[in-house]
Each structure stands twice: as structure tokens, then as C-alpha cells.
């Protein structure tokens, strides 16, 4: 067993894990934050995207011990306070989800996209940047709309959104 010291959504945890434990297993099974999903086990689908030290990471690709000392944000910790993060609100407003399974990963990737590429994202950029996130319900069209709208909405609330990480 190894001890991982990790800050998740602003709270610090010290968790004993076996060495082969994946970050997503620590998040889901040890911390019981089940908003981060596992869709494929093969790093293709992106349902497990979280932010590790402010960068989007597929948490099924990272060992828990590699996240020792890291600050992690999951979908549960994205919004500051009781309301929604602007990107969450945009997914609802634009019907950017159906079954909801891919949605946490989509939103975490989208926020990372804005952090890297800014608030004005054209459709082509959004579609390229979402390559690592698979959805099977929506056909992507409304997801692309939601990400664009969410990116613009983050301009005003950007500080709050970043502060949450």
C-alpha cells in the first residue's frame, strides 16, 4: 500500500491505495465522487476527464500515486458555491447532453479548452479539441453549441471559475 496525499475540490485527503490503483479509482471508490465516469477503460472516451494541477487529464490513464501532492478538480467541484459553473449552465441551456454519462468529461474538457484557447472558440476549434471525448447520444451538434456559449459566458465569470480550481 502507498499513501497518496491529494487535494480534491479544495479538500485535502490522505488515502492508502495499492500501487496499481488508477486516479479514477481513487476518486470514485475511495472518495466516492462518482461524477467522474469510466466509459472505456482504454483512454479513448474521455468520460473520466478531471483537472490535475489545472490541466485536463484522463484519470483512467494516471496512477493514483502519480497524483501525490496534486490539486484535482472534478465535476463535483467545478462550480463555486451552490450555483452552476457557466459551462454547466451552457450545457443545460443548449441541451448538450442526453444520457449524461459523457457529460462530466465533456464539461471538464470544455473548461480546459477555454483555459488554453480563450473565450472565443470557433466551431472547428471546438470540434478538434473535443476529439478525445466521445458522446453516443447527441451527435455532438448541441455539445459544440454549448461549449461555444459556455466559453463566452466564462468571460464574465472567468475569475470565479478559475478560482474554484
Amino acid at each position: 500500500m502507498a499513501t497518496v496525499n491529494i487535494t480534491v475540490n479544495g479538500k485535502s485527503h490522505s488515502v492508502d491505495v495499492s500501487p496499481e490503483t488508477l486516479l479514477v479509482e481513487l476518486i470514485r471508490e475511495k472518495l466516492r465522487l462518482t461524477g467522474t465516469h469510466v466509459g472505456c477503460d482504454t483512454s479513448q472516451c474521455g468520460a473520466c476527464v478531471v483537472h490535475v494541477d489545472s490541466a485536463a487529464v484522463k484519470s483512467c490513464t494516471m496512477l493514483a500515486v502519480s497524483a501525490d501532492g496534486a490539486k484535482v478538480t472534478t465535476i463535483e467541484g467545478l462550480a463555486s458555491g451552490a450555483g452552476l459553473h457557466p459551462m454547466q449552465a451552457a450545457f443545460r441551456e443548449h441541451h448538450g447532453l442526453q444520457c449524461g454519462f459523457c457529460t462530466p468529461g465533456m464539461i471538464m474538457s470544455a473548461v480546459d479548452m477555454v483555459n488554453r484557447k480563450g473565450n472565443e472558440l470557433d466551431e472547428r476549434t471546438i470540434r478538434e479539441e473535443l476529439e478525445g471525448n466521445i458522446c453516443r447520444c447527441t451527435g455532438y451538434h448541441n455539445i459544440v453549441k454549448a461549449v461555444g456559449a459556455g466559453a463566452r459566458a466564462m468571460k464574465g465569470g472567468g475569475k470565479t471559475a478559475r478560482a474554484a480550481e
Binding site: S18, E29, G35, A79, R92, H95, C99, P104
Partner: protein
């Protein structure tokens, strides 16, 4: 268009939990004392099972039980059914082969279930699964549907000669023949239907729980129709009377029809809880009295594993 009137967009109530990570999908559920399940699967499309040796696996850390098709057959748990019966044009019923939830004498597709490993953690179950020794007698396989009925093609189910389950005709043959005979021009065309592979984002998963006090079972699964699942698992598979079986479908991460079916893993998870509990193999396992909870966290197996065009 007013904000609340006809034509206004209606925001879905369920979105709130899906966008905040507080949905409740099957594999998000945890029950106290649950053990984790991992299946040993066939690497062959067609093979006899000569021997399944579970001894080494049973001694691996954290292992609660290793169960085989023989155990399942011994407990008289029925096989999976085909819910849609089709008769051939000569009126004979379809020739559906047996479909045990764990293969007994023969595997018939890549990924067919051969054994179940139950352990305290999924990692332990997976490690132990590698120690299950299965001796196969590899048989010739047939993977192209167009070749399955050719002379000399490998025979998959004894009950279905030439691998033909039914020869289905619809319509009025005489009238159709007459129409073609009197047509001015006839175009001949081979039509091959696309193969459909519903591939939802949420893999299949199941959690089964046996309540010894009420002698009742509960199954949480990724199902599009829990009521039918209860009927089939009760009346056809014989797991428990309907009033002693509850099937709960929580949030489902896509299905597209693929989650209409009852899958072998769900049956096996229920059986592992109930039957093996009765046999004392699970009841007092590593978690004491409550290891009669079996969580099969996920698998993508059923989606196209036998389809050479799908990775």
C-alpha cells in the same frame, strides 16, 4: 413565442444532476460488504472446454469464490432466452441453441463467459482470473455470416443444422413471383444490411444483493426495461419468484436498444449471491455476514466482441 408558451424550449429536470456529477448510474452504487466480480472469457470463437482448473485462482489474495458453468448447471439455473420467437416458412419453430450464462462444454464466441472470480477488490479478482486454467479444444470457427450455411462450415449449435435457426419468409410469394414474371424490366440486386452495433457510453454493469432474512434478491442493472428483466429472470431463468426479485434501473448511460436484453452477467451476479450464499460459500466471507453482495462493475464485452469489424 412566449417564454413559457407553445414552442418554448423545455429544460430537462434530470440535467441538473447530470451536469453536476451527481447522477446515479449502476456502477456508482456501492453496497456494504460487496465483493467484486470479474469474468474469465474465451479467447476462442469456437472451442470445447476440456477442463476448468480453479484451484490456483482460489488461493489468490482476496478471493472469495471461483465459480464455473458446472456450478451454475448444478444449481439448475436456466439459460438465457430469445425473446422474439420466429417460425420458418415450413411452420417449424426456430432452433435456438442453449445459452447458459456461463459456458459448460463449449464456447461459441470470443468473450463467452467461462468462469467467475469473486474477490474483495476488482484488481484481486482480475489477478486471480489470470490463474484460472482453462483447457480448450479449439474448433474451426465461422465469422462471416454469409459463409455460415456453406457445406462443411463449422457447426455451432447441434440443434441448428447448417447453422440455420430459421428460414423466415414474409409476404405473398405467388403474387410476388407473378409480379416479377409480368414486369417489363427486372433489376437484380444483392442487399446486405448494415450491421448495427449499439455502443452506449455507459458500459454494462450489475450489482446483485441477496437478503437472507426475506430470501429475496435485488438487481441493479443498466437496463432499459427492468420489469421485463424481472419477468425473464424469474419465470424463464428460474432465479426466484417475481415477488422475491426486485430489478432497479437507476440512471442509464445510453442504451439504443442494447440494454433491452437480459445479459448473462446479470444472471450470474444474482446466482452468485443467492445460490452460493445458501451453500455457505459467500455468506461468511471476508466481510463477515454481508458478502452476499456481488458487484460486477463494468464491461464493454457484449458490444461487438464477435464482430470482426469492431475493435
Amino acid at each position: 413565442m412566449s417564454a413559457t408558451g407553445i414552442g418554448a424550449a423545455v429544460r430537462r429536470k434530470e440535467d441538473q444532476r447530470f451536469i453536476t456529477g451527481t447522477g446515479n448510474y449502476t456502477s456508482d452504487i456501492s453496497r456494504p460488504g460487496e465483493v467484486r466480480a470479474y469474468f474469465v472469457r474465451s479467447p476462442h470463437a469456437h472451442a470445447t472446454i476440456k477442463k476448468v482448473d480453479t484451484k490456483a485462482a482460489e488461493k489468490m489474495p482476496g478471493v472469495v469464490a471461483v465459480l464455473t458453468g458446472a456450478d451454475l448447471a448444478g444449481d439448475k439455473i436456466g439459460g438465457l432466452i430469445c425473446g422474439w420467437a420466429v417460425s420458418s416458412k415450413d411452420g417449424s419453430p426456430m432452433k435456438a441453441g442453449a445459452h447458459p450464462a456461463i459456458a459448460v462444454d463449449k464456447v461459441r464466441c470470443v468473450g463467452d463467459q467461462v468462469a467467475l472470480v469473486l474477490a474483495e477488490t476488482l484488481g484481486q479478482a482480475r489477478d486471480a482470473a489470470e490463474k484460472v486454467k482453462v483447457e480448450y479444444g479449439v474448433l474451426p470457427s465461422v465469422v462471416d455470416p454469409a459463409k455460415t450455411q456453406a457445406s462443411g462450415a463449422p457447426q455451432i449449435h447441434d440443434v441448428a443444422p447448417n447453422n440455420t435457426i430459421y428460414d423466415w419468409h414474409l409476404g405473398d410469394k405467388a403474387a410476388t413471383d407473378a409480379a416479377f414474371a409480368s414486369a417489363k424490366h427486372v433489376t437484380k440486386l444483392d442487399i446486405v444490411n448494415n450491421r448495427l452495433v449499439p455502443n452506449a457510453m455507459e458500459p454494462r454493469a450489475a450489482i446483485a444483493e441477496y437478503d437472507q432474512g426475506n430470501d429475496s434478491l435485488t438487481l441493479w442493472n443498466t437496463s432499459q426495461n427492468p420489469h421485463v428483466a424481472r419477468l425473464v429472470i424469474s419465470a424463464f431463468i428460474g432465479m426466484a419468484p417475481e415477488h422475491k426479485l426486485r430489478v432497479i434501473a437507476p440512471d442509464v448511460g445510453g442504451g439504443f436498444g442494447s440494454k433491452i436484453f437480459i445479459y448473462p452477467e446479470e444472471v450470474v451476479a444474482l446466482w452468485a449471491c443467492a445460490a452460493r450464499e445458501a451453500a455457505g460459500e459467500m455468506g461468511l466471507g471476508p466481510f463477515g455476514g454481508l458478502s452476499h453482495r456481488c458487484a460486477w462493475p463494468r464491461s464493454r464485452h457484449a458490444c461487438g466482441a464477435c464482430d470482426r469489424r469492431q475493435p
